[in-house]
């Protein structure tokens, strides 16, 4: 057990300073404002600058444990500092996740080409999992890929392909054997998004983010873009899902997030800290709002819930953080009062951004699978309750 400050070597201190300087230079208020306005969660200028630094390559190599990557400490510094700077990160996040699968499952030629493009900043990748009628079960896949000589022809559509409009490839789940059991029917492709027949339509979400619906109409791609074996797509897709679900065992050096969603969870923690700071200020009569139990009791209860969620490990934390964001953000807004409903760029707005967390919280309950998926996993694997029983509706009686 250890929660101490990490003792940095001179080189690590220099790296930390370099990271801070980089973020100060490139992740400006303008970048953040642009991000709020577009919901892009990606900034090409910052991304190019990162590629020039060589840090994209170092991050991937570090995550894979390859030579030439960030060390564990450097990686932790980079993650913490960029979160603090509110670096627009989502498209890079999906790229890192998929790069892992490309490294494991792509043919050598495609692998080398894609990874080099990722290092150079030219290649970004997005996840093509969810379908309009699908939901959390990624194995319920209607998008079809049909073999045609050395090619595959893809037809179907995917929801929530976040970052597609800034990506070159989509990590796509397709159905290649509609007759087979669902986990034996899937094949994964890395689909170049400039292929004819791919149509990207924007969709904005209540938290201000942009995502996409992507339509695939007779999209013809070479077999070169297949990842893993035909009908063995489940093996491929499980890799990043395990990472996204946080069920992969962590190295015990205290330099990993204890669960996923720590980035999101920090927003509710920072919101609570901001409300504490604001209510602890003295007014002109020397009074502080936080000395009123109406304020302090609710703030104390909110902080307790937040701190418990932040320390909650792997899939437990996945649920706890999303719940804390949902339960605490309205309470913070109550304490702040009417100004909490103003948009952040409006003069007089509440700077805690509890209102933003309130709009973001529903999203955090579906990223990488709904809260119900994770509760199912806890029930099955931790409590030994078995799988849920689902009863299909009875077929209507023949008339």
């Amino acid at each position: 057990m250890d929660f101490s400050k990490v003792e940095l070597t001179d080189d690590e201190k220099a790296f930390q300073a370099e990271v801070r300087e980089f973020l100060d230079t490139y992740v400006t208020d303008e970048v953040r404002k642009h991000d709020r306005d577009t919901g892009d969660n990606f900034d090409i200028g910052v991304h190019r600058a990162l590629a020039d630094k060589g840090w994209l390559e170092k991050e991937i190599k570090g995550a894979e444990g390859w030579e030439g990557g960030f060390t564990r400490v450097e990686s932790r510094i980079w993650h913490l500092e960029r979160r603090k700077a509110e670096f627009p990160w989502v498209t890079w996040g999906t790229t890192v996740l998929i790069a892992h699968s490309v490294a494991m499952f792509a043919k050598p030629e495609l692998r080398d080409e894609v990874l080099q493009g990722v290092y150079d900043g030219d290649v970004r990748m997005c996840l093509g999992y969810t379908e309009p009628e699908g939901g959390s079960d990624v194995a319920t896949c209607k998008t079809r890929a049909v073999r045609d000589g050395d090619d595959w022809v893809i037809n179907g559509s995917k929801m929530f392909t976040t970052g597609a409009h800034n990506s070159q490839y989509c990590f796509l789940i397709t159905n290649t054997d509609p007759e087979a059991r669902k986990h034996k029917s899937l094949t994964m492709f890395l689909v170049p998004l400039d292929t004819p027949g791919v149509e990207i339509q924007p969709l904005w979400t209540v938290d201000g983010d942009r995502t996409n619906i992507v339509y695939y109409s007779d999209v013809r791609i070479s077999d070169k873009y297949r990842l893993g074996e035909v009908n063995e797509g489940w093996t491929v897709v499980r890799e990043p899902l395990n990472k996204e679900h946080g069920v992969v065992d962590a190295v015990i050096d205290g330099l990993d997030d204890v669960s996923i969603l720590q980035h999101q969870g920090m927003y509710i923690a920072n919101a609570a800290d901001a409300v504490v700071a604001e209510t602890a200020k003295e007014d002109s009569d020397g009074n502080r709002r936080i000395d009123d139990p109406l304020v302090s009791v609710r703030l104390g209860q909110s902080l307790a819930k937040i701190e418990a969620a932040l320390v909650s490990p792997h899939m437990f934390g996945r649920v706890a953080l999303a719940q804390a964001m949902r339960e605490v953000s309205p309470v913070l807004m109550d304490i702040v009062g009417p100004t909490s409903v103003l948009p952040i760029d409006e003069p007089g707005a509440d700077l805690s951004r509890a209102e933003y967390v309130y709009r973001w919280a529903p999203l955090t309950g579906i990223y990488g699978g709904t809260l119900e998926v994770f509760r199912n996993m806890i029930a099955q694997y931790i409590l030994g309750l078995g799988k849920p029983v689902y009863a299909a509706p009875k077929a209507p009686a023949a008339s």
Partner: protein, 351 residues
């Protein structure tokens, strides 16, 4: 607070930790089953179990070596508290060790072997707000001495005839105590520093109570989960119904969250006491709110069998509420969390 400060987040236990856990788990498994818990309900105290417990050094370890103890950490104590809770052990261990540590902090322990070894039992008036008059003290009927706060003074009081136990929800050895009517009153310390030391003792009491609630909830959750697997409705085990399995999963989340929060709070009090002092009360606020909800659901899963006074689940239900409430209104702990956070944020703003 800079929540992005580069610190380790390592909750792993050493083999010393896991050995300690295993030793106390075994002791309670052997000597404190549900029958023993029920048998002790008339007095709220299992004296035989207490003797076995203190023979293992469970009280002396809470005191530093310099003060004549064995110098365990607060993290160690959270591990033991969790086992106390898991077994619903009817022993005044939490109250005694935080009281003894308070006396040590105030320079009043003076190597008192009877207290260090646990043969002379101390109680803490954890719910005390500094006022005078009669109050309920959780371990008041069995304690040899009770430590109370009166205004800015910390006082040890004792009675030649121990106050009579009153029946109560959690079957604690609870008694009405009027410090003013005590036969012996020994002032320990006074002034703001003494009050701070007392508040820290209350924080430690809250922290260890939170850890006890973690063990308590985990135990009642496991019993409910086992029941759910074996109980069928309309041809399927009720465990397969999400109306049952998801609330049970929520209890598992509470257990994991509360456990890590307690250990983190303890680590900071052990190593950097000024950095995150609010976490001890935060763990208590969180676990107190969740404990009653969770213990009620564990009863609910077992339906008509769960509500029986003979069911283990009802023993957990009553203690899930009564144990933390011995520390007074949990809202006071929430205020403490807010005050400590405000001090932190204000210090940062002026830095």
């Amino acid at each position: 607070m800079d929540r992005y400060e580069l610190r380790r987040e390592d909750y792993s236990l050493t083999t010393d930790h896991t050995d300690l856990q295993a030793a106390f788990a075994k002791l309670f498994q052997s000597h404190c089953g549900i029958d023993e818990v029920r048998a002790a309900e008339a007095t709220g105290f299992d004296e035989g179990l207490w003797k076995q417990l203190i023979a293992t050094g469970a009280t002396s370890m809470a005191i530093s070596e310099a003060e004549g103890g064995d110098g365990a950490t607060l993290v160690d104590l959270t591990l033991i508290a969790e086992e106390v809770g898991r077994a619903l052990a009817p022993v005044p261990w939490i109250d005694h060790v935080v009281s003894a540590r308070l006396l040590a902090r105030l320079g009043a322990l003076a190597g008192d072997e009877a207290i260090i070894s646990g043969t002379r039992i101390l109680a803490l008036d954890a719910a005390g707000t500094g006022t005078s008059g009669k109050r309920l003290v959780a371990q008041g009927a069995i304690a040899d001495e009770i430590i109370v706060r009166e205004g800015d003074d910390i006082v040890r009081v004792s009675f030649s005839d121990k106050p009579a136990r009153v029946d109560n929800l959690a079957k604690l050895p609870m008694a009405w105590v009027d410090p003013g009517a005590a036969d012996t009153r020994t002032p320990v310390a006074g002034g703001p520093e003494a009050v701070k030391a007392f508040e820290l003792a209350v924080d430690e009491w809250r922290l260890l109570t939170a850890s006890a609630l973690v063990g308590l909830l985990e135990a009642t959750m496991r019993i409910a989960a086992e029941f759910a697997v074996s109980r069928y409705t309309l041809g399927v085990p009720i465990a397969s119904l999400q109306g049952i399995s998801h609330p049970l999963a929520n209890i598992a989340i509470t257990v994991e969250s509360g456990r890590n929060l307690g250990r983190k709070a303890a680590w900071f009090l052990d190593n950097e006491p000024d950095v995150r002092p609010e976490l001890a009360s935060a763990a208590y606020v969180y676990m107190t709110e969740e404990a009653s909800k969770s213990a009620t659901f564990a009863v609910h899963v077992q339906g008509g069998l769960g509500v029986s006074t003979e069911a283990a689940s009802t023993a957990y239900l009553t203690r899930a509420r009564g144990w933390p409430l011995a520390g007074g209104d949990p809202a006071r702990a929430a205020v403490r969390v807010a005050e400590l956070a405000a001090a932190r944020e204000t210090a940062q703003a002026s830095a």
